[in-house]
């Protein structure tokens, strides 16, 4: 089974790092993280990202920019809002985004 490449984007350094760590602890997932739009776009362009998790503190205009650039490059990219900040909903969100038609 191919591993899922998951990019976590957030403005809160600790929460973003926590999510990154949690993603990497999950079987079949590889985590990437970014605190800025520039870093997120760079990571997205250099890796075959399957899923983008939008974490805390991302302004509306940044979210629109990210969605626009990422979707232009990969129309099938899944971009979802992550809620809750921790492990409680993370695996559920990944499951819903990637495997539920």
């Amino acid at each position: 089974m191919n591993k899922l490449n998951i990019l976590v984007i957030g403005r809160h350094p600790q929460i973003t790092k926590t999510l990154f760590t949690l993603v990497n602890k999950m079987e079949n997932c590889v985590g990437f993280s970014a605190l800025t739009d520039e870093d997120a776009i760079k990571i997205f362009n250099e890796n075959n990202i399957d899923l983008v998790l939008l974490s805390s503190g991302i302004p509306e205009e940044s979210e629109q920019l990210i969605r626009s650039i990422f979707t232009d490059k990969n129309p099938n990219i899944k971009i979802i809002q992550h809620y809750g900040g921790g492990s409680g909903l993370l695996s559920n969100e990944i499951m819903e985004a990637m495997y539920i038609k």
């Binding site: 809160h12 600790q14 805390s56 809750g84 559920n92």
Partner: protein, 240 residues
């Protein structure tokens, strides 16, 4: 025409970590059931029991309204906004996680369990400034009455959250009946039975069952047993 979903207590997700035993009404952590993801903006309803002295170490939250209702024992809370508090049965605690907070929760006592409901509600606004509040409720106010414990309004009874949601608690004598009127036409109502047997719109429910009702403005509640207790959650059915 009203729509009703019934979640019997024994169909909930089960987690046993030794120090923590939890029943999940909706999918949470390792429990995943695509038919049990949420009821409108009500995303998490966990029925937790924590061993003496144990608890949840420091962990983050963001963009979620988190409500804790202790049922037995004392829960010690510390967070990144410098709040240090103990909540006990009769209290209600609320956190608007917004842009992000860290907190820990421990059973303050070493010789008895703490039991509490942990409820997560999707906010109607992302990235709000984090906020913490707790209040002590007057238990007498819920005897044969639905005591409002949460609303969207700062100047209303109970705590408030960033969502058009209202919660109420009731403790009823046997055969007491009451009609609940939904607060907004767009809302649905999820009733969680804390204790006892009741009928909700003529459907019999028992301890720890949950029943969700939409497309109705009035809900008929009748206690079949003495001291039946319920939590009523009146929530928007659309996640913004």
């Amino acid at each position: 025409m009203e729509n009703i979903i019934l979640h019997k207590a024994d169909t909930r997700g089960n987690a046993d970590h030794g120090w923590l035993k939890s029943k999940h009404t909706f999918s949470f952590a390792n429990y995943y059931n695509p038919d049990r993801m949420h009821f409108g903006v009500l995303r998490v309803l966990n029925d937790d029991s924590v061993e003496g002295g144990m608890g949840f170490g420091t962990h983050p939250h963001d963009n979620m309204e988190i409500i804790s209702i202790p049922l037995e024992g004392d829960l010690q809370h510390k967070d990144s906004m410098n709040n240090v508090a103990v909540i006990k049965s009769g209290d209600i605690q609320v956190m608007s996680a917004g842009t992000g907070i860290y907190h820990s929760e421990y059973n303050k006592n070493h010789d008895k369990l703490v039991k509490f409901l942990q409820i997560w509600v999707f906010p109607n606004k992302k990235n709000v400034t984090p906020r913490y509040d707790q209040i002590t409720l007057n238990l007498a106010d819920r005897h044969n009455n639905l005591q409002q414990i949460l609303s969207p309004n700062q100047d209303d009874a109970g705590v408030w959250i960033h969502q058009d949601a209202w919660f109420s608690l009731g403790k009823f004598d046997k055969d007491f009946s009451v009609q609940y009127q939904t607060k907004r036409k767009e809302n649905g109502v999820y009733i969680f039975v804390l204790k006892g047997d009741l009928t909700i719109n003529n459907i019999t429910v028992n301890t720890r069952d949950g029943i969700g009702i939409t497309n109705t403005e009035n809900i008929d509640i009748k206690a079949l047993t003495q001291d039946a207790e319920i939590l009523v959650m009146d929530v928007p059915m659309t996640v913004a």
